[in-house]
Subunit: 220 residues, 2 copies
């Protein structure tokens, strides 16, 4: 890959319990920049499923918008996922956080029977059809499993989530910190990140290794 890779990063809010996991999102953007890729952030322009007070873990009465909150991580440089065009990108990446399972899909509530946000589904299917690589961290591989089964993914070692992935018709491989599962036929790379009890350095490793695996598949 000689020219600068263009990579879409799809966010789902801002905060692990109701949006994108912030460390995973930032460390994905860092790994892309360090690799010389150009990242553009996207999020769907939809209401968050709910708002969680991250200090208490309790739901609040507020309502927030996924795109508006995700703009905090992107320092304002973010686009509506509805405008995503697979032709403009070499790869797409999904950091984790409950937002992937609450806003980008209903996995947190419906498990294997989850619905996927239509713009997320369109983006993933378009990249897959164009044989462009897809990366996903933490709980976000559940989106890919639902959309691209029979694909091989990992979310680490959580038995319930692994079982849900298998019941979607996808294949789950158990992994540890920093491991990346690469399904080369489907050009999908996944890593557990905070689905395991991890340090922030281990998250940096997982994001870095996933970005490396994804960029290695660009153009192959």
């Amino acid at each position: 890959m000689s020219r600068q890779a263009k990579v879409a990063v799809v966010l789902s809010g801002c905060g692990v319990y109701d949006g994108s996991e912030i460390h995973e999102a930032v460390l994905t953007l860092l790994a892309l920049d360090r690799a010389g890729a150009r990242a553009r952030c996207f999020a769907p322009d939809i209401a968050q499923r709910h708002v969680i007070d991250h200090r208490t873990g309790k739901e609040t009465k507020e309502s927030r918008n996924v795109l508006v909150e995700a703009a905090r991580i992107a320092r304002g440089q973010i686009e509506d996922l509805k405008t995503f065009d697979a032709k403009e990108f070499d790869a797409i990446l999904f950091p984790g956080g409950f937002g992937a399972a609450k806003n980008l899909s209903s996995f947190a509530f419906d498990g294997a029977n989850c619905q996927i946000d239509p713009d997320v589904a369109r983006a993933v299917k378009a990249m897959h059809a164009a044989k462009k690589p897809i990366g996903a961290l933490c709980i976000a591989p559940t989106l890919i499993a639902k959309l691209l089964a029979p694909v091989e993914v990992t979310i680490g070692s959580d038995a319930g989530t692994a079982k849900a992935i298998e019941s979607m018709g996808a294949h789950h491989t158990k992994t540890a910190h920093g491991d990346v599962v690469v399904d080369r036929a489907n050009r999908v790379a996944t890593s557990p990140c905070y689905m395991l009890d991890a340090t922030i350095s281990q998250i940096a490793d997982g994001a870095q290794n996933t970005v490396t695996a994804v960029l290695e598949m660009v153009g192959t």
Copy 2:
């Protein structure tokens, strides 16, 4: 420094325009973890000065709490700055973002005549009196300038901010990406980060270099 350093990281919300700059905060936590230090996050339990829609840059009608929003960056593991005890820490660090100049102080509105949040002032003065190192990124060095003048700090090259720092009685040194100004007598290390037009890799360098400078001063 043989034993594990204990470092307080003071956050000011969650998002560059009304809280902590997220990349600076995350990359400070990463640099501390990579260096083997133990970080504990703090924020004041106060209302944000205002809430900014990070997509449009405009103020919204919402009200949010600095500690509750900062908990998003800290994944819930955060303490009220009122409970900060300098005896428990080897160093203290302030990532930047407008929250440092809007919530931790009134610098964004009042410049050199700004007020400093009382818990921030208490924490900084206690660490300084105990000869424990203090680090600050981006706009946060203005807090240190106000509290510890005549101290030497940097915010990069912004002429207006530099002038305000000088008029507080502190000394400003112009710097570029990744540079750290160390005032060894006061045990203060500062770096410009996003006060310059920077890439996220340059922010990682600035945070890393500041953490290194701070940890080198622990116990000296």
